[in-house]
Amino acid sequence: MSLRIFHRSEAVIAAVLLLAMILIGLVNPAFWQLDNLFGLIRSNVVIGIMALGVLMVLISGGIDVSFPAFAVAAMYLTIRAMLALGYDGVVLPFVMATLIGAALGAVNAAFVHYVRVIPLIVTLGTGAMVRGFLLGMVGASQINIDRMPKPLIAFARSELVGIGNGDGTHYGLTAMVVLYGALALAVHLVLRYTLVGRSIYALGGDAEAARRVGFDLRRTTFFVYGAAGALAGFAGLLHSSMIWLANPRDFAGLELDVIAAVVLGGASIFGGRGSVLGTLLGVFMLVMVNNSLIIMKIDTTWQRVVVGAIVIVATAMTAWRDRKRRI
C-alpha cells in the first residue's frame, strides 16, 4: 500500500528532487536561504511556461524544437512594434506575442497534419526559418534597458513578497510565478477535463485508433502545436520583460534543455504519457541543477557536463521504464 505511490512517476521525481535539494543544501546551506529560493523560482517561470507547451506536444506523440525561435521572434517583433508605435500598455503586447507564437505553431501543425512529415524535421525547418528571418530581415541588434518599454519592465518587476536586506538591497518573490501557476493550472485542466485534452493523450497513445474512434485529429494537432507556439510567444515576451533586454539571439540551444526537463518530469518521448505536475517538477530540477552548481562552488565550465550527465542518467531510467514499448 505504501509503495503504490511510487508507481506514479511524479512521486519518484519529487522524491529525487527532494533528495537533490537536501544534498545541495548539505554542500552549501546558503541554498536554503530565501533569496536563493526566490531566485530559483523566478528562473523557473519562463522555461516552465515553454515546457507546458512542449509537454502537450510530447504527449501527442510529436516533438517541437522550434519553440525557442518562436519565443524570440514573438518577443522581438512585439517589442519592436511597441517601440515603433510608441505603445505603452502591457496586455496588448502579450496578446500580440501570444498570437504570433500561435500563428507560427499553426504552420508546424499544417506540415505535421497535412504533409505528414515527422515533427522533428518540420520543427527543425520552421525553427531555422523563423530565426533566420528574424535575424536576417528584422534585425540582429538587441534592445537594451534604456529603450525597453517601461510598462513591461514595471509589470515584470511586481512582486508578491518583498523582503529588504539591512543594507538596502532587496529581494522578493516575483509575481510572475502567479502567471506561471495560472497557466500550469489551465493546461492541467485542459488536459484532464476537456475532450481536446483527452484527444492529445489518445493521439499519442495510438493515432490510428484515435482516428477510428472519431477524434478530429486535425483539431488536436493544430491545438497542440498552436498552443506550444502561443505559450512560447508569451514566455518570450515575459522573459525580456524580466531581464530588461530584448536580444534576438536569445534562447539558443534551449530546446534540448526544455525537452530534457519535460522527459525528466515523466513524459514519454513516444507519446501518450505526461502530466503538468511532472513537468513542473522536471523544470524545477533542471533549473535547480543549472543554478546550484554555482552555489556548490563547481566551476561553471563543468556545468554542461553535469547537466548532460544528469540528462543521461534520467533518460536511461526512463528507457528502463518505457522498455515495454520498444521492439
Partner: protein, 331 residues
C-alpha cells in the same frame, strides 16, 4: 555500357534521387542566373570546396545514425571536442619556432590520431547508451552532446584554442593535386562509407536492422553490436569534420558550428534518408550538401546575410519535403 546501366539503375532505384539531382541543377542554374559574374567564378567553387567537406561529413555521420532509425545530435560536440583535444595536445608538446619540423609533423600525425580516437570513444559512449542501455537516440545524444561540449568548455575555459601548427592548417586549407585537401578527404571518406554501406557486413546489417529490427533478431543479426559500430562510425566522421574545421579556421572552440547540426539533419533528410531507418545513401546526402552549398553561396554572394541563408535553408527543406509528399501521394 555497364557504367550506363549502373547509372540508370542508380537513378531509377530511387525516384527521389533523380528529383534531387534535378533540384540541384535547378538551384545551380538559378544562382548562376542571378549572379553570373560572381557565382560562376572558379574561385567561388574553390571556396565551396573548402567549406563543403565539414558539413558533408557531419551530414553523412547523421545519415549513418538514421539508418537504424536513430539520430546523432552530438556530432558537432564531438567535432569540437576532437579539435580542442588536438589543440590542447599541440600546446603541450610543441613550442613554436623551437620544435624541429620533423617532430612537428609527427606530433600533427599524433594529433590526428587523438582527434579520431576521440570520435571513436565518443561514438562508443553513444552506442553504449543506445544499443546496450536502450536509451532513445534523441535523448541519449542530446545528453552526450552536452557532455562533449561541456568537456570542451572545461578544457578551453571558454575562449578558442588557436595557434595550430601549419601542417594542421594544411589539412583544412591546403591544396593537393589542384584540389582542396579537405575536399579530397571528404571524397575519400565518402567513398569509404559508401563502400562500407553497400559492400560490407556492417553496412548491410545496418540497412536490415533499420528496415525491421524484429526480423533482424530472428535472422541472428548482432543488432546491438552493429548499432554500436554505427555510432562509432558517426563519431569518427564527426571527429574528421572537427579536424578539418579547426584546420581551416586555425582555431577550436566549444561552441563552433552550432548551426551545422540543424543543417546536417536537414541535409540527411533532403538527401533521401529515412529518419525511421532502412534507407539512405552517401550519394544522396552528398548531392543534397552540394545543392545547399550552391544555395547558400549564391545568396551570400548576393550579400544576403547568413541569417537569411538559414531562413532559405529551412524554407527549401520544407518545400522539398512537401513536394516529395505530394508526389508520393499521387503515385
Amino acid at each position: 555500357m555497364k557504367l550506363a546501366n549502373d547509372l540508370r539503375n542508380l537513378v531509377n532505384r530511387d525516384d527521389n534521387l533523380g528529383q534531387l539531382v534535378l533540384i540541384t541543377i535547378l538551384v545551380f542554374a538559378l544562382m548562376a542566373g542571378l549572379n553570373p559574374e560572381k557565382f560562376l567564378r572558379p574561385y567561388n567553387f574553390e571556396s565551396i570546396s573548402y567549406v563543403f567537406p565539414e558539413l558533408g561529413l557531419l551530414s553523412i555521420a547523421i545519415m549513418i545514425a538514421m539508418l537504424t532509425g536513430g539520430i546523432d545530435l552530438s556530432v558537432v560536440g564531438i567535432a569540437n571536442l576532437s579539435g580542442i583535444l588536438a589543440g590542447t595536445f599541440f600546446h603541450q608538446v610543441i613550442v613554436a619556432h623551437e620544435t624541429p619540423d620533423g617532430t612537428v609533423l609527427a606530433y600533427v600525425a599524433a594529433g590526428v590520431g587523438i582527434a579520431l580516437l576521440t570520435g571513436l570513444a565518443a561514438g562508443l559512449l553513444n552506442g553504449f547508451l543506445i544499443a546496450r542501455l536502450h536509451v532513445t537516440p534523441i535523448l541519449a545524444t542530446m545528453g552526450t552532446a552536452q557532455i562533449f561540449t561541456g568537456l570542451a568548455l572545461v578544457l578551453t575555459g571558454g575562449p578558442a584554442i588557436v595557434g595550430f601548427p601549419a601542417y594542421w592548417g594544411f589539412i583544412g586549407n591546403g591544396k593537393l593535386l589542384g584540389l582542396a585537401v579537405p575536399f579530397l578527404l571528404f571524397l575519400a571518406a565518402a567513398v569509404a562509407i559508401a563502400f562500407v554501406l553497400s559492400r560490407t557486413m556492417l553496412g548491410i546489417n545496418l540497412m536490415l536492422i533499420g528496415t525491421n529490427a524484429r526480423a533482424a533478431l530472428f535472422a541472428g543479426l548482432r543488432r546491438e553490436r552493429m548499432i554500436l559500430y554505427s555510432y562509432m562510425l558517426s563519431g569518427l566522421l564527426a571527429s574528421l569534420a572537427g579536424i578539418i574545421l579547426s584546420g581551416r579556421t586555425n582555431a577550436a572552440k566549444s561552441d563552433y558550428g552550432t548551426s551545422y547540426l540543424l543543417q546536417a539533419v536537414l541535409i540527411a533528410v533532403l538527401g533521401g534518408t529515412n529518419p525511421s531507418g532502412g534507407r539512405g545513401t552517401v550519394l544522396g546526402v552528398s548531392i543534397a550538401v552540394l545543392a545547399l552549398m550552391f544555395l547558400s553561396s549564391g545568396f551570400q554572394l548576393m550579400r544576403f546575410s547568413n541569417f537569411l541563408v538559414d531562413f532559405i535553408w529551412g524554407a527549401f527543406l520544407l518545400l522539398v519535403i512537401a513536394l516529395n509528399a505530394y508526389r508520393n501521394r499521387t503515385r
